[in-house]
């Protein structure tokens, strides 16, 4: 059984509390983690994250389910923030815990790769000159997601 926590929220998350909540599950030997944050760019002031309420949570559950089918995971945590975030603020937290490091780190990578392409979030950038634009999806994200399904032999 994989302990699952999924949250879409405006508030910041508490890395230490989320880690502590899963680290004490019996049988865990490794915990992988990824935190994405607003990266400074030329004249960028903030990002505004929009999502599709209802569908987002379903999509994140489906992604977590996929991960738990691929690796023996003790716990998965996905927290994604919405609303307006300034440079350096955290956007997303992914945690995956397993008996061994390979499963924990592979699942962490998988979860963030799939979240990028399969969870209905959109980012709008705002600049110091007052302008704004919607971030375009990157081909590399689609490739990273699809790479998980390339047969190895």
């Amino acid at each position: 059984m994989t302990r699952l926590k999924i949250s879409v929220q405006a508030a910041d998350f508490d890395l230490a509390a989320e880690y502590a909540a899963i680290a004490t599950q019996p049988g865990i030997g490794g915990i992988g983690c990824f935190i994405g944050q607003v990266r400074a760019g030329s004249d960028l002031i903030s990002l505004t994250l929009e999502h599709y309420p209802g569908m987002t949570e379903k999509a994140l559950h489906a992604i977590a389910h996929q991960a738990s089918q691929r690796w023996p995971l003790h716990a998965i945590t996905i927290i994604h923030r919405i609303g307006t975030l300034t440079i350096g603020q955290p956007i997303v937290l992914v945690l995956a815990a397993a008996a061994h490091r390979h499963a924990a780190l592979s699942a962490t990578q998988f979860l963030i790769d799939w979240l990028k392409t399969d969870a209905p979030f959109w980012k709008q950038e705002r600049f110091s000159d007052g302008g704004s634009h919607w971030v375009e999806a990157r081909q590399s994200d689609q490739q990273a997601r699809q790479a998980w399904d390339i047969p190895l032999g």
């Binding site: 994604h80 997303v92 963030i112 209905p120 959109w122 919607w134 375009e136």
Partner: protein, 84 residues
């Protein structure tokens, strides 16, 4: 009746985030619905002009042009996803 939701720049261009409309006779797929929606107003036409830039969900599941739609469905139209 169906509900159509728009997100991100699709919403900005259409000018509304949601609308409820009757499903015209003969419109039974997502692809046909997109063509119908584009005929509703110049703003709709502009927002939906390039289907290759659009993605969609029917009842909160990702959908393709051939996905069937029926009265009562919730259809969402949006750009490619950019979360994380």
């Amino acid at each position: 009746m169906i509900t159509v939701l728009y997100f991100a720049w699709v919403r900005d261009r259409v000018g509304t985030d949601a609308e409820t409309l009757a499903l015209p006779a003969g419109v039974t797929t997502l692809g046909a619905l997109l063509t119908h929606l584009a005929s509703l107003s110049p703003r709709h036409a502009n927002a939906l002009a390039r289907p290759e830039l659009l993605r969609a969900a029917v009842n909160q599941l990702f959908a393709r042009p051939e996905t069937p739609i029926a009265p009562g469905d919730e259809i969402a139209i949006f750009p490619p996803l950019t979360g994380g």
